[in-house]
């Protein structure tokens, strides 16, 4: 009886894991199978024509990359500052935990609400209209907790001995920050940033009302009223009326490109993330 229960339990657990892997395999193969024939060099380098039925996704790709690089530029100083304060400058444990709590709640804010906030503040109040800069700023704030927490974890895991050694050499606190702490948390910055960007690349909700349109924009030339085309919004719109065969092919192709973009960024940081998770249990 005990043996039977044990066996059933283990079989059920393994089945669950298999199911998770199967779902993953099915998602990827479904996208690749349908989108593979569409994606080629011309699809990537030609602008869209006929409302997505013809041509490629050149400007969508460029638009997504513009948003991502803006987000990275916005989030880097903010997250480094936040991480330094949270991990290093704050002396009281209680305030440190409050800071972390804020970061976690910010991380839990649905991305749609960043869009709503951006619409109220940037689009209406500042009068920017739809602008790539709004989208970049919103995405930057959206991935801020991811990057900050990765940095904080990295900073907290540095041996205190190293800091004491540096202080013993007579280095001031700011020199310790610049020459000991920051070089050490480069890895945390890379892994946090790419993880966040992989998430941001596929986000549609924050940029829906604030930064992106379906057709009629190319490279932005200013800030106000300068929206961009993006990959996720392209899919979002086409998915709503995708019974046209020609569009059907194009939308799967776009999905494949977006999926690969996200996977590439996840893969860059995979070794770092797995090492963190694997190390965690050998403490």
């Amino acid at each position: 009886m005990r043996k039977l229960l044990d066996l059933t339990f283990r079989a059920a657990a393994v089945l669950c894991a298999l199911l998770a892997c199967l779902i993953f395999g099915w998602i990827v193969s479904a996208i690749v199978w349908r989108g593979f024939s569409v994606v080629n060099w011309r699809f990537l380098t030609e602008p869209m024509r006929l409302a997505g039925a013809e041509g490629g996704i050149f400007h969508n790709l460029i638009g997504t990359l513009i948003l991502l690089s803006t987000a990275l530029i916005v989030t880097t100083p903010l997250s480094v500052g936040t991480a330094l304060v949270t991990a290093f400058y704050i002396q009281s444990e209680r305030w440190r935990r409050l800071c972390l709590l804020c970061l976690y709640v910010l991380n839990g804010v649905p991305s749609l609400l960043f869009g709503l906030f951006g619409f109220i503040v940037f689009v209406s109040f500042f009068g920017w209209g739809k602008s790539w800069l709004t989208g970049g700023i919103l995405l930057g704030f959206m991935i801020l907790p991811t990057v900050s927490v990765a940095l904080v974890e990295r900073l907290r895991s540095l041996p205190p001995l190293r800091m004491e050694a540096a202080a013993g050499l007579g280095l001031s606190r700011s020199r310790i920050v610049w020459f000991v702490l920051l070089p050490q948390c480069l890895g945390g910055w890379v892994s946090g940033s790419f993880l966040g960007l992989a998430r941001a690349a596929g986000e549609t909700a924050p940029i829906l009302f604030t930064a992106t349109i379906f057709a009629g924009a190319s490279i932005p030339s200013g800030i106000k009223e300068n929206p961009v085309l993006t990959l996720p919004y392209h899919i979002f719109i086409l998915a709503q009326d995708s019974f046209d065969q020609a569009i059907g092919g194009k939308v799967w192709g776009t999905a494949l490109v977006l999926l690969m973009l996200a996977f590439c960024m996840s893969l860059v940081v995979l070794p770092v993330r797995l090492r963190i998770h694997e190390e965690a249990d050998h403490v």
Partner: protein
């Protein structure tokens, strides 16, 4: 003479250093404050913009079952119901599978197989929500329609479809975080239980799971937060039918008919129409505030649980 000069330069240098300390520190503090006040700003803006509807409709805004913007009737209850229904269906699917798979990866699999599963799951977590939405529209919707065929449904766009889709989306969250929680349980406890002659199931159920349960609940709460706020994928498959308040709260029929969630309402074009009318606009933003309260609360609770377990682990 030179000695004093040297001393003086030294003290000037020290002062310069002290000033540079404060500059680095000062900049960090400012950047940190900008980052954290963004959260406060978000909350305040949403409260400010939605103020009229709270003043006019009051509690009826939460409890009202009718949303008719032309008659200035704003009741959010059907959307709260839809949001909860989607989230609960999603958790009902994802939690057992995710926890089961986490038990498998953390307790049963050898290292190499575990790494393979974890890599796949990390990648699965990176699949954009709009891609899920696309698969939902073009594949899952048809499946659900076929499944419900005997019940003669209107379409495959139902709360159930949305729930299933979100369930797949939050599966990696539950799996990864549960796996972390399980692996946080000291190996010595496992060895002690196995050394007493307990088998794998008994060790897991009696020793490992009770220890990891706060972490697992935190994982479920974080996943719940994501499920509540997911818009794009739900928007595409949920049907977006207003005023679907169920006659009986626990019946199944409303789950297999089209509905509306807080997020899908906010994602629609109504937000542009509403912008001209202060009360309508306030009602729309109020939905966002509700969503923020639910998702933010889940995230905060998850954080506090994780911290508690962390301190617990350090104590024992």
């Amino acid at each position: 003479m030179t000695g004093i000069r040297a001393l003086e330069t030294e003290s000037v240098q020290a002062q310069k250093l002290a000033r540079r300390v404060s500059l680095t520190q000062w900049t960090s503090w400012v950047l940190c404050l900008i980052a954290l006040t963004s959260l406060a700003a978000l909350v305040l803006v949403l409260i400010h913009e939605s103020w009229p509807v709270w003043r006019v409709a009051g509690i009826d805004y939460l409890a009202g079952k009718q949303w008719l913007s032309s008659r200035h009737l704003f009741g959010a209850a059907p959307m709260i119901y839809g949001t909860m229904a989607v989230a609960i269906i999603a958790l009902g699917c994802a939690a057992p599978i995710g926890i089961g798979a986490a038990i498998c990866t953390s307790e049963l699999l050898p290292r190499r197989a575990r790494l393979t599963v974890k890599i796949l799951v990390e990648l699965l977590a990176g699949v954009p929500s709009v891609v899920y939405g696309l698969l939902g529209v073009l594949v899952l919707r048809g499946w659900v329609y076929d499944l419900l065929e005997p019940l003669d449904p209107l379409s495959g766009d139902t709360l159930l479809t949305g729930g299933l889709l979100v369930g797949v989306m939050i599966l990696p969250t539950i799996l990864t975080l549960s796996d972390d929680a399980l692996r946080g349980v000291p190996a010595s406890l496992r060895a002690a239980a196995r050394g007493l002659g307990l088998n794998a199931r008994e060790t897991i159920c009696r020793v490992v799971l009770p220890q990891a349960i706060p972490g697992i609940i935190a994982a479920i709460l974080l996943a719940l937060g994501r499920a509540l706020g997911e818009m794009i994928a739900v928007f595409l498959v949920v049907g977006r039918q207003d005023n679907q308040w169920p006659e009986r709260l626990w019946s199944v029929t409303p789950l297999i008919s089209p509905g509306q969630t807080l997020a899908s309402k906010l994602g629609g074009s109504e937000i542009h129409i509403a912008h001209g009318d202060p009360l309508h606009w306030a009602a729309m933003v109020g939905l966002g505030l509700l969503l923020l309260g639910m998702a933010g609360g889940a995230a905060a609770a998850a954080f506090l649980l994780q911290q508690k377990q962390l301190r617990h682990a350090q104590a024992s």
